[in-house]
Symmetry: C2
Subunit: 103 residues, 2 copies
């Protein structure tokens, strides 16, 4: 057994990406942010669909069409492959823990 | 956008199972329990691996070898296919919200 909120450093100078499950068809990742936006430049343009939920903190997603969505605890979103998006803000004071399923 | 903690009825006479993602290779399910154990009789003996996390409340899992594990908020477990297990207790006072990935 493990806990999704464990092993979060106090200082998070860069976002932390960790695989939890990785198979041929599936990747489940924990992402921990603290004030970062990502990617550094440009947009995510992903081969896979991404289902993502915020488990602590908050994150703001922007789509290339200008739509912006703030995700708080428990909020989830399904981002289809090749729908360009980026994270424009995350909680500066507490860690934002995301669980992302790439499928 | 949706929230994993929304649409939880006050009365939960039976566990609630809802698909969030369903593809050929993947099923993601929200399970909401309140005091139930499951299955009603016997053991889960599943074709797929199950990764499961508790997001609120708690649940106690028993394996057929007698091992018991209590999962509280944020705790997760990877249960391999055909590893027989069952849920022997869930929080009686608040809803236990599980997110399960069958893969």
């Amino acid at each position: 057994m493990a806990n999704i909120f464990n092993n979060i450093p106090a200082d998070i100078p860069n976002e932390i990406f960790e695989d939890i499950i990785k198979t041929k068809n599936l990747r489940v990742e924990r992402i921990v942010s603290k004030g970062q936006s990502s990617p550094d430049t440009g947009w995510y343009d992903q081969e896979e669909n991404e289902w993502v939920i915020v488990l602590s903190g908050f994150g703001e997603i922007e789509y290339i069409n200008g739509d912006k969505i703030i995700l708080e605890q428990g909020d989830y979103l399904d981002i289809k492959a090749h729908v360009k998006h980026r994270v424009i803000a995350t909680s500066p004071d507490e860690a934002t823990v995301w669980l992302a399923i790439f499928y």
